[in-house]
């Protein structure tokens, strides 16, 4: 009956699994920035091929890699329609009431959708190939320079990582609360906006209370297991970086530079 929640770590021994987690996290940041930089057809083709290559190397099946975007199709369609109809009144095919459908809007909508889609897939690959606490350590490592100005980077990394762990549990709980209130007569399926608004409180308050309760219990459990902030914890000495780690970072940087070059060439054209 149980299926893996989206983005959960899937053990494996692929080249992507074996990469150093800090390098992986850094590579993810660079890749996401690169995705935003892309503005040409060729650029998107390169990006899609690049991410497909990573997915194949990671040994994660395509359905699982795409799982992150499964429930977002409606969101994508809405973005696409909004952009098509509202983005560019100047070169609209025609104008009707507030709608100004245009090719420019459509292609812009498509690029937004594609960017979100690619960013989600690549992030999903990262979380599927890296255990949560390693992501925590990697994040802690990457943001550690901020600790010199007094920011508790260790705690921040821990909080972020635990918050991510709780998403599946809270999602399940939200579903239960929604169903419980619906059987009591709350109207979520109603078309009237006023009734929809009315239904928000019976959802939001229980969800917050449930989340607070879980957070409270977890913090007590963590304390009972000896957590007292980062000081005194075992320092995780990560293995020394290997040629492969540098190689992977280099490839990502090259892709990024390539996209910058393409963007410079394409400065005047936008798709």
């Amino acid at each position: 009956m149980k299926s893996l929640p989206t983005g959960i770590f899937i053990p494996g021994d692929s080249p992507i699994h074996r990469l150093d987690s800090s390098i992986k996290l850094l590579a993810l940041f660079i890749t996401v920035v690169t995705i935003v930089l892309v503005n040409s057809f060729l650029g998107y083709v390169i990006m899609i091929l690049f991410i497909m290559m990573i997915a194949m190397l990671s040994g994660i099946s395509l359905p699982v890699a795409l799982n992150a975007t499964n429930k977002l199709y409606w969101f994508f369609i809405i973005i696409l329609l909004m952009n098509t109809f509202f983005y560019s009144p100047e070169d609209a095919w025609f104008s009707f009431w507030v709608f100004t459908p245009s090719m420019t809007g459509f292609t812009y909508g498509l690029t937004v959708v594609l960017r979100v889609f690619l960013a989600l897939v690549i992030s999903n690959i990262l979380t599927s190939t890296t255990p949560p606490m390693e992501i925590t350590h990697a994040l802690e490592h990457l943001i550690s320079p901020f600790s010199y100005v007094g920011i508790p980077t260790g705690q921040i990394a821990m909080i972020l990582s635990i918050a991510i762990q709780f998403i599946p549990t809270l999602a399940e709980e939200t579903d239960t609360i929604r169903k419980a209130q619906m059987t009591r007569g709350a109207r979520f399926d109603s078309k009237k906006i006023t009734q929809k608004a009315e239904a928000v409180l019976p959802m939001v308050i229980p969800i917050f209370l449930a989340a607070f309760k879980r957070a409270d219990e977890l913090s007590v459990a963590m304390e009972a297991r000896g957590y007292r902030g980062v000081s005194g914890r075992t320092k995780k000495s990560s293995r020394p970086l290997l040629v492969g780690d540098y190689g992977a970072l280099l490839i990502v940087l090259l892709v990024c530079l390539l996209q910058i070059a393409l963007r410079l060439i394409n400065l005047t054209r936008t798709y």
Partner: protein, 285 residues
């Protein structure tokens, strides 16, 4: 108020790699005024079945009729179903959100079409029937109550609509023995007043005592459907179904292993006690 399921199947995430069949070809009729116990291993499809009955999900195949009407039919009015069936989820206290007990219990009556006076009557009745003092507790915040009281307020919030069918998913989990008994007695009282009770529980003692009919699901299929008296006869089979038996049934079984003749339909202590006595007095070998 009958519920009828006709060849109901349900599949989660059909057409994807996560496809799971939760229910398969369930045929079931639940008559007015029954007290039905629903058992089975965790993950056997019990919760799915309940959610289909209250219309929270639609079957992949098959039909569900409440009072002869297909609840997933085109012209069926959902509000009618909500009025007829109340559902108590596991740990229902999670649904509390209002500033006072009275308001929270009244929440479900907002769209019921009842007059103010009628609604107020229902709220008072519901709070009192779950064993709370209406005048004392009505304006108290539900969050200041103890765990057991919160549960009662949450259940009052479902009873206030006076449903004719009450569906309960593990309602006694986490309650202490006193709270358990009080709650089970309440379901019995409602049942005596004509409310159909459908209760999911792992607690064989509770179901043996209160339910008149037992249904067991196994991997999405109906594995057993019989009067509770006969439901617990075949211990070997129940073991494979992951269902426990009441303590009285267990003792009767152990006695039969010792060579005593014991009827296989003993499921309550009241039935076991005379048997114990006659065996202990040595007249029963």
């Amino acid at each position: 108020m009958s519920i009828e399921l006709s060849r109901v199947s349900y599949t989660y995430s059909p057409g994807t790699v996560f496809e799971t069949v939760a229910l398969q070809e369930i045929n079931l009729t639940i008559e007015d005024g029954e007290y039905l116990g629903l058992m089975g291993k965790t993950g056997c499809g019990k919760s799915t079945l309940l959610q289909l009955m209250v219309g929270l999900m639609q079957p992949s195949r098959g039909q569900i009729f409440v009072d002869g009407k297909d609840i997933n039919g085109r012209d069926y009015v959902r509000a009618e179903l909500r009025r007829k069936i109340g559902m108590v989820f596991q740990y229902p206290e999670i649904q509390l959100f209002e500033t006072s007990v009275e308001k929270d219990v009244a929440f479900g009556l907002k769209h019921s079409g009842l007059s103010k006076a009628e609604a107020a009557d229902n709220v008072r009745w519901a709070i009192e029937i779950v064993g709370l003092d209406y005048d004392k507790i009505r304006s108290v915040s539900p969050f200041s109550l103890s765990g057991g009281e919160k549960r009662r307020v949450a259940i009052a919030g479902i009873l206030a609509a006076k449903p004719k069918i009450l569906i309960l998913d593990e309602p006694i989990a986490g309650l202490d023995p006193k709270g358990r008994d009080a709650f089970l007695d309440l379901t019995q009282k409602l049942n005596a007043d004509g409310v159909t009770i459908i209760m999911v529980s792992h607690n064989a003692d509770a179901l043996s005592k209160y339910a008149s009919r037992i249904i067991i699901l196994d991997s999405g299929r109906l594995a057993l459907d019989s009067p509770s008296k006969d439901a617990f006869k075949d211990l070997a089979r129940l073991e494979t179904l992951g269902v426990g038996v009441s303590q009285a049934r267990e003792v009767a079984h152990l006695l039969s292993q010792c060579g005593f003749q014991t009827p296989a339909d003993i499921i309550r202590y009241e039935e076991l006690q005379p048997l114990l006595l006659s065996i202990a007095r040595g007249g029963h070998l």
